[in-house]
Every structure is written in structure tokens, then in C-alpha cells.
């Protein structure tokens, strides 16, 4: 148990000690080696890197060097990432066997390990993190502490203004003032739908009950999304603190965070954060003698996508099958155990402490007219800089894909980006300059979603893409309502038929009719948005659907059933390699004369095309 004064002391002392983390010109002899311990880098052996670094430091008797585990730096494509502060040297794709050299060359001899320095997309060698184009257009608010502090050390969190916002709220602000601040900041739900956060808080505060709950939705389920996981892994205390502020504002003294069990590091760090906060007397009874009680518990999800839907999540917390409830009543009035419940997503909470400390005006100065602040995206797919990015609302898709993401690899062309995961839609090249905000994305048939952003190059078939997402929703439908349970399955079957060359005239219209009815008639958000990937690909790439149906061709060449391999006799030198590669004996021809493929035998495996030294075989 620590008194408030003791917390202040920790903050002051630790802040000085950790100045070198954020101040390149820090006047110190100390060095901190920051090693990413997010899930990605951890699976690329970053714990071993920490071990090896410590070993080398000990061997070289360096007393002024500390190795710190941190959360995600964002540029996952370059992981495992090792950064040395205060000079901010950035070593990329580090292996455990590089550690001895890093310590010897960089720390003992004071020279850079050139071969490990990160290269930007344009080939320029980057010595410092902030020189990377990847970071230039980013603004880190939700991710402020990720990659800066050791997430398992509450003192480091306190050093960087941790629990200061809570103190401000409990000591200086009334619940109404807090809600007013959140409202005026313009913050909207980062889970996807973008409901004004302040309004949600107000509704839950207004609901009459002796018992209310605060819930954090950390059931991140979109394929390719890892924003919430990274926040929980890199800065768990900021979510604890925000949930406490929310509890104080709406009159709740109990909170639950619903995390998927597939996020073991996030779960472990969050539990540690809860334990530390309890130990410091930050969570518990009569916090800092204010009379405010608050405690938090983790609830593990078993990986059902539908449990990210807030009412299904509540059912699951209560121990039942994860199925959505009908709304209204909304959770603000009847949530967990029928009590008023505030549910926000991880990233939403991650903005709260900053809004409280810096003010609503500061926050609302960032972003666009209707979408304030920043948004974190998990950038993936056919893009060079795969990773976690946080940009001010209003940044264009082009800036994210090309300036931050470094463009499309392998010299290919940008074809489309998918936002909002299986609930969202695709955005074609013609809309690359659309500013990213809730309304603009909605207008072009996509949605903000929780922040998965998957880039596709011109080798990707859009019908196949729609099929992939439908396959996901069919698997993840809970089975409660008819349109989603059977309707999505029928849509998938239609798409399967089309990609297998068995599409019929009228299938597109059939898909559209079914899609629109599923959207309007399904119980919850999952079903209501499940047809979006189909509708948006039909909207922008109708010709591709038609090519599959009418011409039995897949223009992108991705749909195997529609591919037909042929050998260009002008390019073929008759080397015979393809003939040897073919597993079914579909290729014939004499040496030194052009070979031919028998399409009735060919199984379209593509082995011949990949081995042809003259690129004479095409789909």
C-alpha cells in the first residue's frame, strides 16, 4: 500500500532516472537497451536476445547498461528490434548471436554495428529511429508508452505520468466534469462503430442502480488485427487507469476485461498490472482516502469472434454460450447481470488518460471535423512495412500505404485495401486519397473497424477475397439467427461456385439480394456487416465477378480452378524442365522444340510455370 505522496516520490525519482528513454540529449553515462517483447518479436526469440545481451554485458563488466523489455515499436517487419538509448540507435532483425557483437562494438568500443542498422525502403541507412519514414507521419497517443517503458514495471509507468490522470480525476474533478471532458474531446469508440465515448459514459452514469460495471472489450478478432493486443502488452497500466477513471465517472466499482486466451502475453502482463496496482493501493478500497473503491478482474475468452460483439461478450462473462442479446436495451441500461454497464474497447481506454491530462481541446485539435484524435492500424498484407501504426484521423490511405507502409513490394501495383476486417469493405485505388475517418470510410462502402488494414496487390482476386472473409464469418457465426446462420453459408456457397467456374448468370444479383437482406434482418453486428466484403467488392470490381461468371476467367489469376496454363511457343526453348516438374504428365514435347500442355490432364498446380527458366508458361 502506498500513500499518494509516495507515488509522487516514485514519479519524480523514476522520471529523472528514465529521462534517457525519451531525451536524446540526456546528460547521462547510462545506456538502456530496449528490446521489443511484443508477441511478434517474442516469437522471433527476443527473450533469448535479452538473455544474451545481459550475458555479454556481464562478461564485459558494464555497470551502466540496462536491458529493458518493452512493448511493440510498431515496425514489426524489422523485428526483433533492439534500440539503444539515449542515442536512439536502431538495430533491426537482430538474432541472439548478434548480441555479443552489439555489446562489444556499440557499448564497449562506441561504434555502430553497421550491418544491423535498419535500412529504409529507399535503401538509405537509418541510424536513429526517428529518421525512418515509417514514423514521420505517425502520432503516438494510444501507443505513447509502447516501446518506451517496461510494461511489467509499475514504477516506469508512474514515471511517465502514470496514474496522474486518475489522481486528477479523483482529487479535482467531478464525474460530470470528466464526462464533459471526454465528450468535448470528440473521442469515439475505437472498436469499430465509432459511437461517441462521452455519450456512452453519460448514458451509463444516468442509469439508476446501486451496482454498475466497467468492461473492457479486448476480444480482438479481426483477421490480421493486433492493435489491442499491442497496447495490453506494451502499456497495460494505461488501460487499468482508464477503466478506473471510467468507473469513477459512471459510478461503478467493479471492472472486467475480456481478453482472448490466445493472447497469453497480454493476459499475463495485464494480470501483473492489476496485481501491482493492488499492491500499491491504487486498486482496492477507499483509494487514496477518497472513498472510491475499484477492483478489476480478467475474463478469458475462448476465441469466438462473435464474443467481440458487446452483448455476446457479456453473455460469455456471465458464463453462457457467447450469443448476442437483442438491443435495446443497451448495456448502458442493462448489461452485465442486467446492471448498467459501460463497455469500451482497449484502444478507446488507451486515449483517456491523455485526454484527462492534456485536455479536451488538445485532443480535439487532432483529426478531422467529425473524427478526433488518432487511430491505430495493424498494417498487413502486400505492403513493405508491416506493423503497427498510429496516425491522426484524416491521414489518407495513400499516406498510410505508401509513406508509412513503404508501398507495395515486388514491384507490384496497389489494387485495394481492406479495412474493418470481415465487417468492412475494400477500398480500391481510386479512393486512395480518402481521408481515414469514420464518415469517409462509411461513404465509400467500407468502415473504420477496429483497425485491421490489409493491403492487396494486383495479384489478388477480389472474388476470392470476398470468399475468404465470408468463410471467416460462416465459421464464426454463432448460429442464433437465421439470416446469419444460413444466409452467410449460402453466400459462401455462391462465391465458391463462382470461383470454381460454375457461376451462373444472375448470381451477382442473387448475392446482392441475399446480402442486403442479411444486413437488414440479422440480430447483431456480425450478421449485419458480414455481407460488406461481398457488397464492396461487387461495387468496385463487378467486372471481375463477371469475368469469373461469363468468361470463366480469373483476371488476377488467383482462382486455381479458372486458371489455364499454356506454353508460349515463341519463348519455349524445349529444355524439358517443365515436363520433368509436371506431377501428372500433362506436358509433352521433343527436346529443343516447343512443348505443349494438355489441359484435360493439367491439375493447375503451377509447378511448371515456377520452374520455367524462360518464363514461357503463363496462366
Amino acid at each position: 500500500m502506498k500513500k499518494l505522496e509516495e507515488i509522487h516520490e516514485i514519479r519524480e525519482q523514476k522520471r529523472k532516472e528514465l529521462d534517457l528513454r525519451v531525451n536524446l540529449k540526456a546528460d547521462t553515462q547510462e545506456k538502456h537497451i530496449l528490446v521489443c517483447r511484443g508477441t511478434g518479436c517474442t516469437s522471433s526469440k527476443s527473450p533469448k536476445i535479452i538473455e544474451e545481451l545481459n550475458k555479454a554485458i556481464k562478461e564485459n563488466n558494464l555497470n551502466n547498461v540496462r536491458v529493458i523489455q518493452t512493448g511493440c515499436f510498431g515496425l514489426c517487419a524489422k523485428g526483433p528490434i533492439v534500440i539503444i538509448r539515449p542515442e536512439d540507435t536502431f538495430y533491426a532483425v537482430v538474432k541472439p548471436e548478434d548480441c555479443a557483437e552489439i555489446v562489444k562494438t556499440h557499448l564497449v568500443e562506441g561504434k555502430l554495428v553497421e550491418r544491423l542498422l535498419c535500412k529504409d525502403i529507399d535503401g538509405t541507412e537509418v541510424k536513429r529511429l526517428d529518421e525512418l519514414n515509417f514514423y514521420k507521419k505517425q502520432k503516438r497517443i494510444a501507443l505513447k508508452n509502447c516501446g518506451v517503458i517496461d510494461p511489467e514495471n509499475i514504477d516506469e509507468y508512474i514515471a511517465f505520468d502514470g496514474y496522474k490522470a486518475l489522481e486528477k480525476c479523483l482529487m479535482e474533478m467531478t464525474p460530470d466534469e470528466i464526462i464533459e471532458t471526454v465528450t468535448n474531446s470528440g473521442l469515439r469508440g475505437r472498436g469499430g462503430a465509432g459511437f461517441p465515448t462521452g455519450k456512452k459514459w453519460m448514458f451509463t452514469k444516468m442509469a439508476q442502480s446501486d451496482q454498475k460495471y466497467v468492461v473492457c472489450n479486448a476480444d480482438e478478432g479481426d483477421p490480421g488485427a493486433f492493435m489491442d493486443r499491442s497496447i495490453l502488452e506494451g502499456d497495460p497500466h494505461c488501460v487499468v487507469e482508464a477503466m478506473m477513471i471510467a468507473g469513477y465517472a459512471i459510478g461503478a466499482n467493479k471492472g472486467y476485461i475480456y481478453v482472448r486466451a490466445e493472447y497469453p502475453i497480454a493476459v499475463q502482463r495485464f494480470q501483473k498490472a492489476i496485481d501491482q496496482a493492488r499492491e500499491y493501493g491504487i486498486l482496492g478500497k477507499n483509494i487514496w482516502n477518497t472513498g472510491f473503491d475499484f477492483d478489476l478482474e480478467i475474463r478469458l475468452g475462448a476465441g469466438a469472434f462473435v464474443c467481440g460483439e458487446e452483448t455476446a461478450l457479456l453473455e460469455s462473462i456471465e458464463g453462457r454460450r457467447g450469443q448476442p442479446r437483442l438491443k435495446p436495451p443497451f448495456p448502458a441500461n442493462s448489461g452485465l447481470w442486467k446492471e448498467p454497464t459501460l463497455i469500451n474497447n482497449v484502444e478507446t481506454y488507451a486515449n483517456i488518460t491523455k485526454i484527462i491530462l492534456n485536455g479536451a481541446e488538445w485532443y480535439s485539435s487532432i483529426g478531422t471535423e467529425t473524427s478526433k484524435g488518432t487511430k491505430v492500424f495493424a498494417l498487413g498484407g502486400n505492403v513493405n512495412n508491416i506493423g503497427l501504426v498510429e496516425v491522426p484521423m484524416g491521414t489518407t490511405l495513400r499516406e498510410i500505404v505508401f509513406d508509412i507502409g513503404g508501398g507495395i513490394p515486388n514491384g507490384r501495383q496497389f489494387k485495394a485495401a481492406q479495412t474493418g476486417g470481415p465487417s468492412g469493405g475494400c477500398i480500391p485505388a481510386e479512393h486512395l486519397d480518402t481521408p481515414i475517418d469514420y464518415e469517409s470510410l462509411g461513404k465509400i462502402g467500407s468502415m473504420m473497424g477496429s483497425g485491421g488494414l490489409i493491403v492487396m496487390d494486383d495479384s489478388k482476386c477480389m472474388v476470392n477475397l470476398a470468399k475468404f472473409y465470408l468463410g471467416f464469418t460462416v465459421d464464426e457465426s454463432c448460429g442464433k439467427c437465421t439470416p446469419c446462420r444460413i444466409g452467410t453459408k449460402r453466400m459462401l456457397e455462391l462465391l465458391e461456385r463462382i470461383t470454381e467456374g460454375e457461376g451462373e448468370e444472375g448470381d451477382i444479383e442473387k448475392l446482392e439480394k441475399l446480402a442486403n437482406n442479411i444486413k437488414a434482418a440479422s440480430v447483431c453486428g456480425l450478421g449485419q456487416t458480414a455481407p460488406n466484403p461481398v457488397l464492396s467488392t461487387i461495387k468496385y470490381f463487378r467486372d471481375e465477378y463477371e469475368a469469373h461468371i461469363k468468361d470463366k476467367k480469373c483476371p488476377a489469376g488467383e482462382c486455381k480452378a479458372l486458371a489455364s496454363y499454356s506454353i508460349d511457343p515463341n519463348k519455349c526453348k524445349g529444355c524439358g524442365i517443365c515436363k520433368k516438374q509436371c506431377p501428372v504428365g500433362a506436358i509433352s514435347g521433343e527436346v529443343k522444340s516447343a512443348h505443349v500442355i494438355d489441359p484435360s490432364i493439367c491439375i493447375k498446380c503451377g509447378a511448371c510455370a515456377s520452374k520455367c527458366p524462360f518464363k514461357a508458361i503463363s496462366k
Binding site: 437483442l326 437465421t482 444466409g487 437482406n517 434482418a521
Partner: protein, 584 residues
């Protein structure tokens, strides 16, 4: 009582003033605006899952299910726009696409809520056909057949089993398209905690749940020249059978039923009500003995086999509380195969005893051990009310115009006490009529014990009989039975006599009775109408106390000596076993 607040709404342009708390569906029905439903079952399954009852509400995105949406001031609702009709057709199309559409060979042909909707919405072909889930049919139990190929996942059965009966034998397993109504470990209903109450069948809008057919066996026996085929009919059958022929709910069709049974070719047609009179004689005697000799109290009735199966599975330690009396039709069967056979000089081995029952669990009951009082199984086949109706239809009998006939002697005349066995509280009332006279040692004027009548879940009464304070309780529905059992288990029950029926409302609402659509169940009090039919039989009866039944008196005099005698025990009593809930 203050008047409920009224809410002003508009449905399809009609301005309405509706009581607060009503759903849009209820409001529409009040105004004679029809909205189709499928998964909705009033008070039991109000979930809005199937999406047939969707409506448009001004200012709302998407469609809203009217079955659960409460009316709100100023709500402007549209129920039949072209867009809604298309959406409902799509929903119906999707359901049908995953439905085993063998309507012609389905027991629910003509009485299927899905079929009625398909006809109404003019679904003549399936637009979104595709893969269909295929399941093995579960027909291992003696009572219930579960055919998931016909299941539309409305979950009315699941809600009934879990919420009304609190058994939880079935639930939903798997996700999405693979979701299905399943038991624990997907075992047969025969091997889990199912009591065979059959309420799930009553809830099913399609043919996914049905009784195990016995009509074929009975037809076969009726053709068998060597067999002496005797039939008996339970009290509740006669006030429901007419419904299958379009007659008003609760109409007493005993006379037509007897005529029909004779025309079907049964050698004798008897009344189970007489069996009920025997039950009262035995059970009343057993109760008085327990009362006098400090036996295990409260004594609990044993007429309902679903209930017996329930206690055997869930409260085996409390089995000594259950009366050892067989249920009326088993008693009656035992007497037919002993006394009657002797008297008529018929080889009991040749007697084939058929019971027409409102009950599914009776099909299981006849397979129990210790149910062969005369050395031959008391009863050989059980037909539900529905199955009898099917046989009558097959025989081309124009049921509504049949003349009346009486049950066959020598056991034709039953008492009103026997008749009211068919409704909750009836056994208790019949027993009290006899027990109070036996204890008081004189004829009493009190015939009606209205405190044990009616629809309340649990009815209690505190009676003064022969200077004794006698407390009784009556429960119907297994969720209510559970409450009483918990009281007994925890030592909080101060009753001496308890009546329990597995089905809510008693046998009139048994799992073998004519199936009523969701709409009828929501708008008509079926239980009350059928029960009134029985009470009216009681009122008109010459004899209203079991111990005054001349046939019963005669058989005790000639054959059984007296109630509770050794002979009576041999024929009319049975035993119970502790039963495993899950045979896995």
C-alpha cells in the same frame, strides 16, 4: 388497482392506444394485423431469432423483431412493406434450404407452422438451395423420436426443456451452420436425463420431435384374429381429441371416441377413469396408513411417469415418499388381465391392452420393470391422443358426426373423481373426497376442493379432516416439482400429501395431446378450456367419489378383498429404482 399506462403507436397507418409493456406483436394482433412468427412461444421462447416477425420501425436501422420489441410512445411501425415481405421470404427460403422437405411423409403434414408459412409466402422453389446438414434420426427411446433433419433451430424445445421443465436434457451444440439441438455428448435421448414428458414435442413447430409411433403395432393387433384387443382411454383424451377434427378446444367427445374405437375394431372399450378410481382407493388407503403409522410423509402421487422418472434420476433418496401405487392405466390393465380375464374366461395371454393417453412418458412406463401384476404386462401399447386421431382419420370415420356410445361394462361407469385426474389438482381433489370420508367415517357434503384447482404453479391447502390438520400441495411442471423436492430435501416441507404432474397444467396439457400452434398458445388458454371440460364431466357424474364407484366396489368385494390387501398389492402396486441420468 391503477389502470395501466396507455401508449400511442401507429401500425400500418392505424393509430392505436396500447397498454404499456405489450409487444409490437401483441399490439398488432389486438388490431387484427397479422405478423408471422416461427421461433416465438409466448412466455417461453421470446428471443427474436428466426426473424420472421420482423417489422420496420421509423427511425431504426434494419428490421426489428416484433415478438420482443415493446411498444414505445409515438412508435411508427410498418409490418407489411414489400421490403419486409422480401426479407421474410428470404428468411423462409433459407430455413427451407436446410430443412428435410419430405412434407408428404411427415407426421406434421397439415399441422406444421413452417409449411403454413411456406404456403402463405408462396414459396414454390428454393432460391438459395445448398448444402444441408444431415443427421442420424434418434429413435432409441421408447417415447420420443428426434429428427434433426427437420429441425429449424427455433429452439422452442430447448427453452421448454430448460425454462419450463428445468431439465436441460437438450441444448444447442456447435456454432453457426453446424449448430444443432443436442443432448450431452450427443447421446440418444434414451441415455440422458430426459424424462419423456414430451413438452418439447408440443413446442416443436415442425416434425423434428415426435412420439414413437405405436399405430402400426395396434393396427397389426387389430387384424390378428387370435388377439383380444382391449382399449382404455385416459380422462384428458376425451376433452382434446375433438380438436384434431376441428372441434372447439375442451369439447368432451367421450361418446364419439368410444364409437370410433369400436368401429376401429377394438373388442372392448374401457374407461381409464375407473382405473383412476382404483388408484384413489389404493393411494387413499396408503396415505391413511402412512398417516396412522408414522410412515414416510409427505406422500407423493405416482400417476405421472415423467415425474416418476424425474425423481428416480434426480432425488433417488426421496423415493420412499412416492406412493407405491401404479398409475391408473397400469392398474386397469392389471385388473383386465386378471379379474376380467377370469370372469370372461379369456386367456390373459391373448389380451392385448392398448391405452390411449395424453402422455408420451406412458410409452416408457409400460416398459418399466414391475409392471406385470397378473404375470403379463399390464399394458401392451400406448397411443397418444394424436395417434388415435390419425387412426380415426385413416379409417375414414367422420368423427364429428359419429353417434355417442358408452364404455363397455362391467367397468363402464366411472366417477367424476376419476375424470378430474386429467388436470392438475384433480388427483388430490379425488383423493381428498375419499380420504376425508374414510377418516371422518361418514358421508360428507364437501365435494369440491377448489383450493387445489386452477393455474397456479404450486397450490397449497391447509385442511381440517377428522380433527387432524392436513396440509397438501399440488405442483405441475417439473420446475415446480423441483421446488417441492428441494423443500422436502431441506426439511422445510410440512405437507402430508403432495400431487405432482410432470406436465404444466397436468395431463390435459400432456405431451401426447393435440399440438397447438404458437399463435393459439399465445391467445387461447388451452389448459383452462380442457380442464373445464373435465370439471364439467365431474359435475354431471352420477357418482363423484371413487369409493362409490359400483364397479370398483364390486371388484374389491369379489376379487381384491379390500384396498391395500395382499392381492391388491400384487396387482396394483409397483416399485422404483435409482436411475442414472447419463448412460455413458
Amino acid at each position: 388497482m391503477s389502470e395501466n399506462k396507455m401508449i400511442n403507436i401507429t401500425i400500418d397507418g392505424k393509430q392505436l392506444s396500447v397498454e404499456e409493456g405489450k409487444t409490437v406483436l401483441e399490439a398488432a394482433r389486438q388490431a387484427n394485423i397479422e405478423i408471422p412468427t416461427l421461433c416465438f412461444l409466448k412466455d417461453i421462447n421470446e428471443v427474436g431469432d428466426c426473424r420472421m416477425c420482423i417489422v420496420e420501425i421509423e427511425g431504426r436501422r434494419g428490421y426489428t423483431p416484433s415478438c420482443i420489441q415493446k411498444v414505445e410512445e409515438g412508435m411508427n411501425i410498418k409490418t407489411n412493406t414489400p421490403a419486409l415481405i422480401e426479407a421474410r421470404r428470404v428468411v423462409l427460403d433459407l430455413i427451407l434450404s436446410n430443412h428435410d422437405r419430405k412434407c408428404l411423409t411427415c407426421t406434421r403434414n397439415g399441422n406444421c407452422e413452417l409449411q403454413a408459412l411456406a404456403e402463405k409466402y408462396n414459396v414454390t422453389e428454393i432460391e438459395y438451395d445448398g448444402e444441408r446438414n444431415e443427421y442420424e434420426i434418434d429413435e432409441l427411446s421408447p417415447a420420443i423420436v428426434k429428427d434433426l433433419n427437420k429441425c429449424i433451430l427455433c429452439r422452442r424445445c430447448v427453452a421448454t426443456c430448460n425454462k419450463v421443465q428445468e431439465i436441460g436434457a437438450i441444448g444447442v451444440a456447435n456454432r453457426g451452420f453446424a449448430s444443432c439441438v443436442s443432448t450431452a455428448s450427443n447421446a440418444s435421448l434414451n441415455d440422458v436425463n430426459c424424462t419423456f414428458c414430451g413438452q418439447c414435442i408440443e413446442a416443436c413447430p415442425v416434425g423434428a420431435l415426435k412420439e414413437k409411433d405405436s399405430t402400426q403395432l395396434v393396427w397389426r393387433k387389430l387384424r390378428d384374429k387370435d388377439a383380444y384387443v382391449v382399449v382404455q382411454t385416459a380422462p384428458a383424451v376425451r376433452v382434446a381429441l375433438g380438436e384434431e377434427f376441428g372441434m372447439e378446444i375442451g369439447t368432451n367427445v367421450a361418446g364419439k371416441m368410444v364409437t370410433a374405437l369400436k368401429r376401429l375394431g377394438f373388442d372392448k372399450v374401457f374407461d381409464t377413469n375407473t382405473g383412476a378410481d382404483f388408484t384413489i382407493m389404493e393411494e387413499g388407503t396408503e396415505f391413511i396408513e402412512r398417516l396412522k403409522n408414522n410412515g414416510v410423509l409427505p406422500m407423493i402421487t405416482s400417476c405421472s411417469p415423467g415425474w416418476v422418472r424425474y425423481i428416480e434420476m434426480n432425488y433417488p433418496d426421496l423415493l420412499p415418499h412416492v406412493s407405491t401405487c401404479k398409475s391408473p392405466h397400469q392398474m386397469f390393465g392389471a385388473i383386465i388381465k386378471s379379474y376380467y380375464a377370469e370372469k370372461m374366461n379369456i386367456d390373459p395371454a391373448k389380451i392385448f391392452m392398448v391405452s390411449v393417453m395424453p402422455c408420451i412418458s406412458k410409452k416408457f412406463e409400460i416398459t418399466r420393470d414391475d409392471m406385470a401384476g397378473a404375470g403379463y404386462s399390464d399394458v401392451d401399447a400406448v397411443l397418444t391422443t394424436r395417434e388415435l386421431a390419425r387412426m380415426i382419420k385413416q379409417a375414414n370415420l367422420d368423427f364429428t358426426t359419429l353417434e355417442d356410445s358408452g364404455f363397455d361394462d362391467p367397468m363402464g361407469e366411472a366417477t367424476g373423481a376419476g375424470a378430474i385426474f386429467g388436470t392438475t389438482g384433480g388427483v388430490m381433489e379425488a383423493a381428498l373426497r375419499t380420504v376425508s370420508e374414510v377418516l371422518e367415517g361418514k358421508e360428507l357434503n364437501k365435494l369440491e376442493f377448489k383450493e387445489v384447482r386452477g393455474e397456479k404453479d404450486i397450490k397449497k391447502a391447509d385442511l381440517q379432516i377428522a380433527g387432524k390438520d392436513i396440509k397438501v400441495a399440488v405442483a405441475s411442471g417439473l420446475a415446480n416439482a423441483k421446488k417441492i423436492m428441494e423443500e422436502i430435501k431441506n426439511g422445510n416441507a410440512d405437507y402430508q400429501f403432495v400431487e405432482i404432474m410432470a406436465c404444466p397444467g397436468g395431463c390435459v396439457m400432456g405431451g401426447g395431446q393435440p399440438i397447438k400452434s404458437s399463435k393459439i398458445r399465445a391467445t387461447v388458454d388451452v389448459r383452462k378450456k380442457r380442464a373445464e371440460g373435465l370439471y364439467s364431466i365431474d359435475e354431471k357424474s352420477q357418482f363423484r367419489k371413487s369409493h362409490e364407484n359400483p364397479a370398483v366396489k364390486k371388484i374389491y368385494d369379489e376379487y381384491l378383498e379390500k384396498p391395500g390387501s395382499h392381492k391388491a398389492h400384487e396387482l396394483l402396486h409397483t416399485s422404483y429404482v435409482e436411475r442414472e441420468k447419463y448412460k455413458m
